[in-house]
């Protein structure tokens, strides 16, 4: 860890371009600023297209009526909540192994968005379950493991928030993220087994309406929208975190928005 701080500081002057260049906050900060608007544009474009397909092209479902349209937000949120956790744990592992500070910052920046996606999955699922199953919540395997995933996110965020020293927070967060990543599949299968052993649950999500092509298109478009949104927000948050953590460096103090 000692070395990384130094090399990161020296790198800009070295003039040699190699891949790790963008692993230094110094060079990543302006790049993130350049990338961010593109992801916003993509997110909005996919969002408009997805909503159009979802509300005006996709036909009414035979069994569920119009209520099924919740799928266009529910499934993207569910997918991303799981995907972001994997990415976060991946960054954490990189940070722990290679000691690049940016990796820890990415993990920290992704967590709130991942938690938000998990929350949206729970919320939209509940709002779907009420009309379809007649109840806001059942202890189905998927639902339960999504809930636990949400808790894992909260644990990660709370741990990082409780530690003041950013270097320590990164490493401690990395350990809990990795331990969680090992546990997510275990939890998923244990919950699945737990539920199916007792009773055939009265409803099952895999019996979802046979999906029409247009519905599928809409879902994919919305998933892309959520994905781009997550990247855009995370980029913004990474920038904020870089500013906060690198406050003592010269290059931050020389930034125009700081000097002004």
């Amino acid at each position: 860890m000692s070395q990384s701080v130094v090399t990161d500081r020296i790198e800009p002057n070295r003039g040699v371009i190699h891949w790790f260049r963008f692993a230094s906050p110094y060079s990543f900060y302006p790049m993130a600023a350049r990338l961010e608007p593109w992801f916003w544009i993509l997110a909005i474009a996919f969002g408009i297209a997805g909503l159009w397909v979802g509300f005006f092209v996709a036909p009414t479902d035979a069994q569920q009526g119009e209520g099924y349209r919740i799928i266009f937000v529910h499934v993207p949120a569910s997918w991303l909540s799981m995907f972001i956790y994997l990415v976060m744990a991946g960054w954490a592992a990189v940070g722990l192994a290679l000691n690049t500070r940016l990796a820890g910052m990415w993990a920290q920046a992704l967590a709130p968005t991942g938690a938000l996606m998990a929350f949206l999955s729970l919320w939209t699922g509940a709002f779907w379950g009420k009309p379809m199953w007649g109840t806001w919540w059942v202890w189905d395997a998927r639902l339960t493991s999504e809930l636990i995933l949400f808790f894992l996110y909260l644990g990660f965020i709370a741990l990082q928030a409780a530690i003041d020293d950013p270097r320590r927070a990164d490493k401690a967060g990395a350990i809990i993220a990795l331990v969680g990543a090992i546990n997510v599949p275990i939890i998923y299968f244990s919950v699945k087994w737990w539920n199916t052993l007792h009773q055939g649950s009265s409803v099952s999500m895999t019996k979802a309406p046979s999906m029409a092509m247009t519905m599928f298109t809409g879902m994919i478009l919305m998933a892309l929208c959520f994905w781009m949104y997550s990247i855009a927000v995370a980029l913004r948050r990474v920038r904020a975190i870089i500013l906060e953590r690198e406050a003592h460096t010269d290059w931050v103090q020389q930034l125009p928005e700081v000097k002004a």
């Binding site: 939890i187 087994w193 737990w194």
Partner: protein, 221 residues
Amino acid sequence: MKAILAVVRRDLLLAMRRKTEVLTALFFFVIVTSLFPLGIGPETALLRKIAPGVLWVGALLATMLGLQRMFAADHADGTLEQMVLSPSPLGLLVSGKNIAHWLVSGLPLVVLAPILGIQFDLTAGELGVLMLSLLLGTPVLSLVGSIGAALTLGVRGGGVLLSLLVLPLYVPALIFGAGAVQAYNSGLGAAGHLSLLAALLVMALFFAPWATTAALRIALE
């Protein structure tokens, strides 16, 4: 090896001196499981049904309460620093603390569980399965818990933060443990659940001390 023994001996000695601590963790288990009949009502059939779940959740909470003290005292008075600086490898010392923790806070739960099970009108067979599931499960709780304990060391709001970190990770042990009794009950046999629990134990034995050691080093940076 000598270092492991030294740590186990030391922690047991300390536990003997702080007798109340050990005993009250047990009493906590007893009280929590006894609170449920009070909150839920005295129907025997209902109580028998929820008994494995309640006993396992009780064991889980009782273990969790003790977790925080696993390293906290050693951290506060600087002993942990001395352990890091000691010539023996930290991983061994951590294993020693894990063993001591289980002996002090896991094993008594296993022994006490049948007595509490009687309160819920469980049969001898069910009690046996319950004990076996706790025997395999409580070391998992200690091992996984020690990761959380190390991570929250010296962190503000440590106690409850610890539960937030650790309780979700306890879910598989809880499901298989309580599930074993229920499966036995419903005639399916507990073997499946118990072997899964054993697999969890092996995995925890493998990975947890490593993660705990890493977390401790971070905490002391």
